[in-house]
């Protein structure tokens, strides 16, 4: 019954005080070479036949030397790559419930005819089931951390704690909710930061400059600075929004962020495909740590004319993290696919096949994504002292052989389904594709029972109107 990949150590630790929690042996480890910096290889390197030692939820060592360490758990990872877990830098996890419900539509109809009417029916229990299914999907896909921007976030925080995942969570609000929206977002952020053993961090989460007015954006910026909280919002999602903002206010969405003080906070901007040339100097001068999350599948699906301007952002030193957005627009929470599509979409958008190499894609998926969610010093790299958020990727399948260029194999040949083991804070959440913290069939059963009530649109209401 015990699979060879996950055997107990040959001998029990004689001194429990010195036993590590987990030792992974015989893997190829993806590491970051700080000295290589932002060069052609983006500092990505591979260490063959490596051993990874995990103690107290942290990576203690990544070494090619034979280590004599007793450990509570030993994984023989022959034929597998150990890499930092993927980070979903912008999602609305409970929206998996609406996966596929509004297909082949422009974003206006998608919001106004389907998503926002249905979300007006949303109850805590729907959010709970959706979040649980989403966490299951992410763990299966090698995601160890996600930045979530949604409603009923107390519930999402509880599911995050239960699932074992790491997350940055923000309670979304619109100005149409009145003063209550921002207050609840702040209250959520203060109550939950540092919970789940430190796995949960929080952000203030205004929806977007087209749904939150300048006064509320400015108040958000003040509260962020006052409480040391980051901010996560949608901005310049597409060109139409930028043009509508210019027509109405004479300012781009990024100029609105600057004017309201949000560029002086630690700010995660979702999408940014509508960022223009005139925005770049403002982003360059920003007083806060700015990052952008790119979810390229949705931009193709909605036939937006541009994608996130990754090259221009890189020139400014702004990290771009990978994301899926919600499954109602992306059809999955597959960050692995987002990694491959980022490479392909960027080559195509720039008309340059040499741009956005596989190593660059891996850099976006690891350190840049960690920075984007405000955890640049804690996760995103298999380095001593970092939290042990690790995935093991099986490369023995026919579609990932032979290996001429391991970075290319990982980004463009491997799939999320090749992740065999997912580990967060040193705890194994999926072993040999088996989920250990969540029960999918029971979630799906109850979700389907509730679906007719949830998806009823006859009431004609909606939580908000999409009008850039």
């Amino acid at each position: 019954m015990t699979p060879p990949e996950s055997a107990p150590p040959p001998e029990p630790a004689s001194d429990a005080g010195t036993a590590a929690d987990l030792v992974i042996t015989h893997c190829t480890a993806l590491v970051h070479d700080a000295s290589a910096g932002h060069g052609a290889h983006e500092g990505i390197a591979f260490v063959e036949d490596a051993t990874v030692v995990v103690r107290d939820g942290r990576i203690e060592a990544v070494t090619t030397e034979r280590v004599e360490v007793s450990a509570a758990e030993h994984i023989d990872a022959r034929g597998q790559v150990a890499m930092p877990g993927l980070i979903n830098c912008h999602t609305h996890s409970p929206m998996v419930t609406l996966r596929g419900i509004a297909e082949d539509l422009p974003v206006e109809e998608w919001f106004n005819e389907f998503v926002w009417p249905i979300e007006s029916n949303l109850r805590e229990r729907d959010v709970e089931l959706g979040a649980r299914l989403a966490c299951a999907e992410m763990i299966r896909g090698g995601v160890t951390c996600f930045a979530d921007h949604y409603f009923s976030m107390d519930t999402v925080a509880a599911v995050t704690a239960e699932s074992g995942l790491r997350a940055n969570l923000g309670q979304a609000f619109f100005s149409s909710q009145g003063a209550d929206g921002l207050e609840r977002s702040l209250d959520f952020a203060l109550r939950h930061r540092g919970t789940a053993g430190g796995r949960i961090t929080t952000s203030l989460a205004p929806h977007a400059p087209y749904t939150v007015d300048d006064a509320d954006l400015a108040a958000t910026a003040r509260l962020a600075r006052e409480h040391g909280l980051p901010v996560h919002l949608h901005a310049a999602e597409n060109r139409d929004q930028t043009e509508a903002s210019l027509a109405r206010h004479g300012r781009t969405p990024i100029e609105v962020l600057a004017a309201t003080g949000l560029l002086d906070t630690d700010l995660l901007i979702a999408h940014g495909t509508g960022i223009t040339e005139r925005d770049l100097p403002l982003l360059a001068r920003a007083g806060g740590r700015i990052a952008v999350a790119s979810a390229p599948r949705g931009y193709l699906r909605f036939a937006w004319p541009t994608t996130t301007p990754v090259r221009a952002l890189r020139d400014l030193g702004i990290p771009v993290g990978l994301a899926t957005d919600g499954a109602a627009s992306n059809n999955s929470l597959d960050v692995w696919e987002a990694m491959a599509l980022t490479g392909l979409a960027q080559k195509s958008a720039e008309g340059d096949p040499r741009w956005l190499t596989s190593r660059q894609a891996l850099h976006h998926a690891t350190l840049q994504s960690a920075r984007a969610v405000g955890l640049g010093e804690r996760i995103g790299s298999l380095a001593p002292g970092r939290r042990a958020d690790i995935v093991l990727v099986d490369l023995t399948g026919p579609h990932t052989q032979p290996v001429h260029d391991l970075a290319a194999t990982l980004v463009h040949s491997a799939r999320s389904s090749d992740v065999r083991t997912t580990i967060v804070d040193g705890r194994v959440l999926m072993r040999d594709r088996e989920l250990l913290t969540l029960d999918v069939p029971s979630v799906v059963r109850e979700m389907n029972e509730r679906m007719p009530v949830l998806t009823e649109r006859g009431h004609g209401g909606r939580i908000q109107e999409y009008d850039t």
Copy 2:
């Protein structure tokens, strides 16, 4: 040891003469509704709780009635979709050996500095190992038929026979080979058509109008008509080729095909991203059955400015099949991914989120792909009388639940790794993800031993020069 999905029938058939080969029960079957024609739904429908009966390698029935049929093999496919196996309409299967060897390069350098120098080292054994690995990858990815265009095709035919897959095979040639090239392509096509129990069909396979001169193309067209053979070639692969052809000959590649008589044959054109407005009337008037194979991943990778003009071709009634090209440019032979990317790339290229729905993508993947490889009457649909090329897709994973729109779930949420069972001509080639006809580890071992000799480029030779 016997998994529940694949149990023997409860009682042996009392009359072997009436026993079916295979019965699949409790599946949701993807079928084509001929009456729906080329409408909004492209004739794709789903039959729930269906039974599929297979006899003598053919589909005998797809029914919702309880059938009392004894069968040599019974598959309980609860929670799974039965659909026609995917068809890879244009590949160079042995090139899996070069997967990832030449990344992030323009197509000229990819050909001239890597692929064509390395292919000058190619031996029969390399082709054999590559074809075997490719067949393993395709069976695992739910591909039941492929159109292959390469060298040493006697070897590929032998591997095809051994693998159990269906294929249309063509021995590629350049005019630089002299008269010998076309002769060998014809000899191969005549010797192999109808072999492997009818699973192998053949084509004449000139490489492309930029590597095969007009006299050889015209001779190919004459021989195709004389012998009743289809033709499979690259043409108008990208805009640069079309512009180079215009500059040199005053004709587009499609005009070259018209002038040499190839548009009067049953012709499969690979890629066609360089097809222009002026080509459309010629394609509309073509005397032969014309089809195009689209492999969208490579067009993004090489940063080509256009993709296959699927909408214009549809207006002409020209089927567009899905393809991966070789793994040296596509990084995988994942036709499932090609299906999703076709949807996304077409929406983006047309600037229209309503275009290329999931049902349209499934129509391309099934009947249009079958027509593209000349098997429009034999495969591509789960209909009585068609060959039993079937895949079973598991939709119980968290990433494919809930199901609001089964077509969208299949195209945009499911992955090739969700294929659990692959069946060709009624024979199970993969059962519960286990390959039954090919041994991957031994192939990979020998391939890696041979790799240093194969990939040596110090000789400075190449089989051909890429110069559009």
